[in-house]
């Protein structure tokens, strides 16, 4: 597994706004989820990874193209000030970087009036593919993404699901080793979301693409990603494998009860079981004493004429994990977890 992203003490400052603070990040190729609340610095980090802005200080490598801080660069005509594009000099390096990355923007980013195939082929040409190659490849990618039938239709007639897929197609056209996906499932209905996630998983797992998935839907990350990076207030809150920080208590269970569970709950408490939470769908989270046998749940349920529909060892979902990481402001917990 090669390292695709290696950032070293990256700082990004827009006037007084410290968008990124000392970001050091080493990521192996794979499927990576980038999480964080609004304003955590996710988009700034994405911009740096895309080579659209250069950091105020710090350096790093993305796909073995180096990222340099803006101090190194010289200003030039049409080079925007300090923190932005520069045309000559190191910008060429940034452009080389973007050739290796496919970016799927969150905004619609479609060109109304073009047909699907023209749009994707245009993307290929913008990446620098020869025209004939771009067209051939556009057909190939659209077939893979099951947009074959829609490829000669105009983009403004596309449904949300098709729009999202064609945005993925334009990012895949030049077969980049790294895909940056900004909210790829936003606006999709459950079926469309499944299809998109399946595609992403397949691209990552079976075709060796590295994915960076920036999303608010933690369930998506849970399905697709192996590693996560959580950003909070411009610094990295957590980075690594999800499972390594999931708090897993073996004495906790989630129960699903169908029926009137009041007496059942009372009896559970009599047995020394602590009920941590419950909701109106008959779901209970309980902490059991030692030497507890799950069979006893069934005995109790049988006794109270309720039906035990579910019994799972309690495992933290990514959402709970995220909220724990972000809301509960206790660094010690994270340190413990990362060890």
């Amino acid at each position: 597994m090669e390292t695709i992203i290696d950032l070293n003490e990256i700082n990004q400052q827009f006037y007084s706004n410290h968008a990124l603070k000392n970001i050091s990040l080493k990521l192996k190729s794979g499927r990576i989820g980038l999480l964080g609340p609004n304003g955590a610095g996710k988009s700034t980090l994405l911009k740096i990874l895309l080579g659209l802005i250069s950091p105020t200080s710090g350096e790093g490598k993305v796909l073995s193209e180096s990222i340099q801080s803006s101090k190194v660069k010289q200003r030039s005509f049409f080079g925007w000030g300090r923190n932005n594009f520069t045309l000559r000099g190191t910008q060429r390096g940034n452009e080389r970087l973007r050739k290796k990355i496919g970016y799927m923007p969150e905004a619609d980013a479609l060109i109304p009036g073009l047909t699907g195939i023209e749009y994707v082929a245009l993307a290929g040409e913008l990446y620098g593919m020869p025209r004939a190659q771009a067209q051939r490849r556009a057909h190939e990618v659209l077939t893979y993404l099951e947009l074959e039938d829609a490829r000669y239709r105009r983009l403004e007639q596309y449904s949300t699901g098709m729009k999202q897929r064609i945005k993925l197609a334009q990012a895949l056209i030049h077969d980049p080793p790294l895909l940056l996906l900004d909210e790829p499932t936003s606006g999709l209905d459950p079926a469309g979301r499944d299809a998109m996630l399946r595609l992403l998983l397949e691209l990552g797992r079976d075709f060796g693409k590295s994915l960076i998935l920036s999303t608010h839907l933690l369930a998506d990350v849970e399905v697709v990603c192996e590693q996560i990076v959580i950003l909070l207030n411009g610094s990295i809150r957590f980075q690594g494998n999800v499972d390594s920080i999931r708090s897993q208590q073996h004495d906790r269970y989630r129960l699903r009860i169908q029926g009137d569970n009041r007496d059942f709950c009372k009896d559970l408490q009599l047995e020394g079981i602590e009920i941590l939470s419950e909701n109106n769908r008959g779901e209970l989270r309980v902490q059991v004493p030692k030497e507890w046998q799950t069979r006893n749940f069934f005995v109790l349920a049988d006794h109270h004429q309720v039906i035990l529909r579910g019994l799972e060892p309690d495992q933290e979902t990514l959402e709970e994990l995220f909220l724990r990481m972000v809301i509960v402001n206790s660094p010690t917990q994270v340190e413990l977890a990362t060890k």
Binding site: S43, L46, K47, L50, L52, F78, W80, G81, N84, F85, L87, Q91, E95, R96, L97, R98, K99, Y103, P105, E106, A107, D108, A109, L110, I111, P112, G113, L114, E118, L122, A123, E125, L126, Y127, G128, M129, P130, R131, Q133, R137, E140, T143, Y144, Q170, L172, H174, D175, D182, E202, L203, R205, D206, F207, G208
Partner: protein, 320 residues
Amino acid sequence: MVNPQLEKSSLLHYRPWRGELSGSWRPTWAIARTALGLLSRRKLFWGLYGLSVMIFLFFFYGQYLQVFLEQRVTEENIRSGGLFPKNIKPETILHQLQNALQLNGSADTYANFIWFEGYIVMVILALIGSAAIGNDFHHGSLPFYLSKPIGPFHYIFGKCLAVGIFINLITTIPAVLLFIEYGFIDTWSYYWDNLRLFLGIIFYGSLITITLSLLLIATASWVKRTMPMVMIWTVMMVLGRMIQRWLVDGLHLRKEWRLIDIWNDLYLAGHWALGTPHEALRPPWQMQPSYHAALLVIGICIVTCIFYLRKKIQAVEIVA
């Protein structure tokens, strides 16, 4: 890392692509082509383009007709009626006609031709501005372009290229055709004697191209939508002309007020390039500001547009 099982199960699986990617300049052509392609899908465009072709054909056959008539009617005299009948040589009439219409292969021919195309150029430019540029800002297509390995400069260059190609298609190229045609009608030496005119046409054309494409992209990125775009452009180009006439001819203000009409400025600059002396500008009763003032205004306009565009694209958030 390709999973063999998967390969078997789905025949149309994802395939890798290997190939060389070119530099950042070739894509500008793709941008320009796409913009022109989008324009060509509008019916309105073809209607307007037809009009501009008609103007060209009028000039083209006008020149031709003159020569044709000259050859037919040289021998005979025409008797004009009235109390004092007199014989007039048709040649004289033709010459008068030629000079009145300015179809004499002089600087005025070409400058007039381009001037006449003005209105149509303006309307089509409003169309192209909204179709190819304003839409990018309005529908958020910019992230699509700018997340590719091209800089904003390439993007603007590509769009300018499209606008430029189009403007030249309506102005410079027909003007050059007229120049060539007149050489055929006149004598071969016309080409050599009037090389200055040819270069003037080219300069005039490129000045129009640069100024208008920058101005157009700047306005389009500002107003974004078609209708406001057409309105602002009309105000700038058509109303500007009416206002300057009203101010100078009607209210007898200083002739420098004419400078607010950018198409007039370009006309002046064109005459300057074609080598017309300032006094010989037609119509003679119309006071025109000096060439240098016009050139200055155009220069200011170009610089302002560049700075505005620079600021505008800088502010685009590619990653939301």
